[in-house]
């Protein structure tokens, strides 16, 4: 993660390339001054808005010219309908519930196991082959097996999400612990700290940025896994709703599903980003 400025894609925020954005900025202030930066920001925002409006416009044009898309007003109408009859809320809550349960359990398990692997050679030796092996398998590929073993209730879906979140977070935590600056540990030791204290006061805070990055990646892959799992086996949820809509050729509902999934994913990611900014603001960024 390189950026912490909210509301912008992380890879865009730190240094906007001096392209048309900079040229268009009416910036009489000196180079790099706060005024110029602000105006550059406004320009970026304007371009963002322009891009969204333009995209929707293209969509509208396409749907009016023979494509099988519903028009934007049709999608909005569908969203209002699904909202007022309660299905949208019900589906969103079902999906959110699964994702949050799997994601939280996965991260909760990943942090101590990642620490164990980073701190104790024995734990690393025993756990690493399994984690490296399962990491290469998309959690969804385990779904058939999990369905056979755990039935078709909530458990198999939560389990694959758990796995997705766990694998992303455990690797990252482990790397964070292994990468803790040796001199910081030495500094704590010469100040009289013993292993337990060093772990809590040095290793944990030093690896927090890694844990949070792992959680963000884990959240992304949880969300992706969830929707796919619901497409395969569910009685409620956004993925399930889209799958049903597909059967009835109800493209408007599919569009609503896609937008809601995107918005919910974005909101959760921003919340984690916010936590990251608050918890790891001490980092020196070069």
């Amino acid at each position: 993660m390189t950026s912490s400025s909210p509301g912008l894609a992380p890879d865009l925020a730190p240094k906007p390339p001096p392209g048309p954005a900079a040229v268009a900025a009416p910036a009489p202030a000196g180079p790099g001054g706060p005024r110029r930066r602000r105006s550059r920001r406004t320009t970026l925002r304007l371009l963002n808005a322009l891009s969204i409006v333009g995209g929707v416009g293209v969509w509208w044009l396409l749907s009016l010219n023979g494509f099988q898309f519903p028009t934007p007003p049709e999608v909005v109408a569908k969203a209002v309908e699904l909202w007022s009859n309660g299905t949208l809320v019900e589906d969103a809550l079902a999906s959110l519930g699964r994702v949050l349960t799997g994601f939280l359990l996965g991260s909760l398990a990943a942090v101590p196991i990642g620490f164990l692997m980073g701190w104790y050679t024995v734990a690393r030796g025993l756990l690493e082959p399994w984690i490296q092996f399962f990491r290469t398998i998309p959690p969804l590929a385990l779904l058939p097996l999990v369905l056979v073993l755990l039935g078709i209730g909530e458990l198999p879906k939560v389990f694959v999400i758990f796995l997705a979140a766990f694998l992303a977070c455990v690797i990252s935590t482990y790397q964070g612990v292994v990468g803790v600056d040796r001199t910081l540990i030495d500094a704590a030791r010469v100040l009289g700290a013993k292993d337990g204290t060093i772990f809590l006061t040095v290793v944990v805070p030093a690896s927090t940025p890694f844990i949070l990055v792992g959680m963000r990646v884990g959240l992304g892959s949880s969300w992706a896994t969830l929707v796919a799992a619901e497409l395969l086996a569910a009685q409620a949820g956004l993925g399930y709703r889209m799958q049903q809509a597909q059967l009835y050729y109800d493209i408007a509902t599919i569009f609503v599903g896609i937008v809601v999934i995107g918005v919910l994913g974005l909101v959760m990611d921003r919340l984690l980003l916010l936590a990251e900014t608050r918890l790891t603001g001490w980092q020196e960024r070069r």
């Binding site: 001199t183 805070p205 927090t208 001490w282 980092q283």
Partner: protein, 277 residues
């Protein structure tokens, strides 16, 4: 000009007798396995440092000066020989030996004040006493205005002052400093040298200060230990009989120049180890 050769390279004369030495290094040897070769970082190093003495160690890279410091800090163990502090064998780090690292090693998630309090908290000191002690050392190094700032807000010089205060706060009787000013620009470095001596004169400690800068070595020390590489060993010991406080006047005096020349020769015109080609 012929290079200075020490009369007895491996057993430099100690200013005090062994029994009263604060730090006593006896025939320390340290080897590392480097692929299949054995690398001799330290060979037959013996050195006594008296209580409240300021000793600098200078030498080319690979002479084992950092290894020697790490052994005294308890971060590494000698392959053979003894490292004694107050007559007792060093085993592991301890709060009576404060260490200052070249890379500052401040905890980046803690403010200046919390960094300085770290060692006090570890030792179980109460909150109020911690505050007071930290306050005293924040003032001592002149960081009052930055007490609640995070390390990322500080310049290199301020970071090192914070690290010095943190080491001082746990009240060590020995300060081990590993090229603490090595990463700073020349002006800041001169400033910090003077501040360090000022701090030291008010809060006397036994100091072993490692550097690669001959000027710095002579300016700070009562005694300069010159080391040589391949194998790492003590090559020369130079007494610096200049008065403290060391002012700019001292730094620009002909006596200082003469001593610096002497140390310079010892560092830059070393003869290879005897018995080796």
């Amino acid at each position: 000009m012929t290079p200075m050769t020490p009369t007895t390279p491996t057993t430099p004369t100690a200013p005090t007798s062994t029994s009263t030495a604060k730090i006593s290094v006896r025939e320390v040897r340290k080897t590392f396995a480097l692929r299949n070769e054995e690398f001799v970082a330290l060979d037959g190093v013996s050195l006594d440092i008296a209580d409240n003495e300021f000793v600098t160690v200078v030498g080319p890279s690979g002479c084992g000066k950092s290894t020697l410091m790490n052994i005294l800090a308890g971060l590494e163990e000698p392959t053979s020989g003894h490292a004694l502090v107050d007559g007792e064998e060093v085993s592991g780090p301890g709060p009576e030996r404060g260490v200052i690292f070249q890379q500052y090693a401040l905890f980046p998630w803690l403010s200046v004040r919390k960094n300085i309090e770290f060692g006090l908290k570890v030792s179980g000191l109460g909150r109020r006493e911690r505050r007071e002690r930290a306050e005293h050392f924040i003032r001592l190094v002149g960081l009052e205005r930055f007490a609640d700032a995070l390390p990322k807000m500080l310049s290199g010089g301020m970071k090192q002052r914070c690290a010095i205060a943190r080491a001082y706060a746990v009240d060590p009787s020995i300060l081990l400093m590993d090229e603490p000013f090595g990463a700073l620009d020349a002006l800041t470095r001169v400033n910090l040298q003077e501040q360090l001596l000022d701090t030291w004169s008010r809060e006397k400690r036994t100091v072993m200060f490692i550097t690669h800068d001959v000027d710095e070595a002579v300016f700070l020390a009562r005694r300069v230990v010159v080391m040589a590489a391949r194998p790492g060993r003590i090559y020369d010991v130079v007494d610096v009989d200049l008065p403290y406080p060391r002012t700019e006047e001292v730094r620009l005096s002909p006596q200082f120049a003469a001593l610096r020349n002497r140390v310079w020769h010892s560092v830059y015109h070393q003869e290879p180890a005897s018995g080796r080609p």
